[in-house]
Symmetry: D2
Subunit: 168 residues, 4 copies
C-alpha cells in the first residue's frame, strides 16, 4: 500500500517539477537533502533539517547557530522573515540552556524579546547565545545575530523555565 | 538541461521515499501541496505555503491567522517550536499593520516580545492580532495565540516602523 | 539627642524654604503628607507615599492604580519619566499577582516589557492590570496605562515568579 | 504670603518630625539635600535629586549610572522596587542616547524590556548602558545592572525614537 502512496506522491512531485522554476527546484532539493540528513541523525527536527542550521559551542562557552539564507525563510520584501530570526534566536538560546542542565531536566522558553536592527540579507545569519544567569528554576539568556559581514542585525533575550523532563 | 535536473531531482525524491516513514511522506505531500498553492497565488511566501496558514480579518478589525500543527513545526518535545509561535505572532501583527497603511508604505518589525504560556499542541493554533496604537511612523500591536480548545497559549506585542516602500 | 537632630534638620528645611519656589514648596508639602500617611498605615512603602498612588480592585477582578502627575515624576521634557510609568505598571501587575496568591507565597517580577505610546501628561495616569495566566510557579500579566482623557499612553506585560514568602 | 505658607509648611514638618523614626529623619534629610542640589544645578530632575544618582561616561563610551539603595526605593520585601530598577535602566539608556545625538534632537523611549535576575540589595546599584545600533530614527540600547559585589542583578534593552526637539 505504501508503494502505491509513494507512486502517487512521486507523480505529484513530477507534475510539480514540470512547471517549476529554478528557485522551486533548488528549494525542493534542499528539502530532500534536509529530510535525508534527518533520517541519518544529523538533525533532530524537521525545522532544523529544512532550515539547514549548523550548531556548535564556541571556546568561551557561548553557543553558535548558523542559518543559511534561502527563499524558504524570506518574507515578501525578500529579507529574512522576522519570525525566522526569532526562531534562530530561540533555537540558539534554548539549545544552550538545555545543554547546560542535567539530562533529566528540560528547559522551555517562557519569554523572549527580539530587537530587529537591520534587514537579514546575504549568505547566512550567525547567532551567538550566552547565559546571563542560571538559577535553579529560571535561566536568563541573551543572543546576537550577525550577517555575513558580521554586522549586528538582531538582538534577543530570553527567559527559560527549568523543569523535570517529561517521561516518554 | 532543466529536464535533466528535474530527472535527477526526481530520482533523489524516489530514493528518499523508498525508506520514508508515513510522517515523512505526509510532510512531503504537504510541502508539494503548499508549493503548488504558491504557484497559483494562494500564498505569497514559501514559509506561508509550507506552514499552510489561513488568514482573514475579523468583523471588529482584528486579524486572524490559523496555523495547523504538523511535525514540521514541532520541537524535539513534540510541541510547537517557540520560534514558530513567534513566527505566527509576527505574521499576524505584521500583516495587520501592512494592510492598515497606504500601499506606498511598508511596515517592518523593530521589536517583538513573546510570552509562552502553555505548550502548543492539538490540531492548530489560532492567533488574533490587534492594533494598540498607530502613529505616523510607529505602530504598536498585540496578539494572542489560542489552541484548538481556545485556551490562551501565548501572547505577544510588537512595534512596527513604517517607511516608504522600497521601489522594485 | 533626637531633639537636636530634629532641630538641625528643621533648620535645614527652613533654610531650604527661604529660597524655595512655589513648585518646591508644593513638592515638600506632598512629601510630608505622604510620609504622614505612611505613618498612619495608608501606604506600605515610601515610594507609594511619595507618588500618592491610589489602588483598588475593579468589579471584573482587574486591578487599578492611579498615579497623580506631579513634577516629582517628570523627566526634563516635562512628561512623566518612562521609569515612573514602568513603576506604575510593575506596581499594578505585581500587586494584583500578590493579592491573588496564598499569603505564605510571594511573587517577584522576573521580566517586564513596556511599550510607550504617548507622552504622559495631564492630571494623572490610570493603570489597569489583569492576569493572563496563573500557573503554579509563573504568572503572566498585562496592564494598560491611560491618561486623564482615557487615551492609551503605555502598555506592559510582566512575568512573575511565585515562591515561598521569606520568613521574617 | 509665601512667608505664611512657609511658616505653615515648616510647622507641618516640625509636627511630622516629632513622631518620626530615624529612618524617616534620614529620608527627609536626603530629600532636602537632593532638592538643594537641584537648586544649585547638580540635578535636572526631582527624581534624580531624590534618588541621588551619579552619572558618568566610561572610557569605552558606555554610560554609567550609580543609584544608592535607600528605603525610599525599596518595595515591601525590603529590596529595590522593580520599577526603580527599570527607572535606573531607562535613565542610563536614555541619557546615553540623548547625549549621542545632535542638540536639536531628542530621543524618547518607545519600548523597554527588563529581566530581573537577583534581588537589589546592598549599598548601591550600578548600571552600565551601551548602544547596540544607532539609526537615523531608531536607536537600540542595552544595559546591565550590578550590585555592590558586581553581581548581575538585572538586564534591560530599549528602543528609542529620535525626533526634532520640541521648541520651548
Amino acid at each position: 500500500m505504501n508503494d502505491v502512496a509513494n507512486e502517487q506522491l512521486l507523480q505529484r512531485v513530477e507534475n510539480f517539477l514540470t512547471n517549476s522554476s529554478d528557485e522551486e527546484r533548488h528549494l525542493l532539493s534542499t528539502i530532500i537533502n534536509g529530510f535525508s540528513e534527518k533520517q541519518n541523525g544529523t538533525y533532530t527536527t524537521y525545522l532544523a533539517a529544512l532550515t539547514q542550521i549548523k550548531t556548535r559551542f564556541l571556546e568561551n562557552g557561548d553557543y553558535e547557530v548558523i542559518l543559511p539564507i534561502q527563499p524558504l525563510i524570506e518574507n515578501p520584501l525578500k529579507i529574512v522573515h522576522g519570525g525566522m530570526t526569532a526562531t534562530l534566536l530561540d533555537t540558539a538560546m534554548g539549545s544552550l540552556v538545555n545543554q547546560s542542565i542535567s539530562s533529566d531536566l528540560a528547559a522551555v522558553t517562557t519569554e523572549m524579546n527580539v530587537h530587529y536592527i537591520k534587514p537579514g540579507v546575504g549568505s547566512h545569519l550567525r547567532c551567538v547565545a550566552s547565559i546571563l544567569n542560571k538559577g535553579r528554576q529560571l535561566c536568563v539568556t541573551e543572543a546576537k545575530v550577525y550577517d555575513e559581514k558580521e554586522k549586528l542585525i538582531a538582538m534577543g533575550t530570553g527567559t527559560f523555565f527549568i523543569m523535570k523532563r517529561p517521561k516518554k
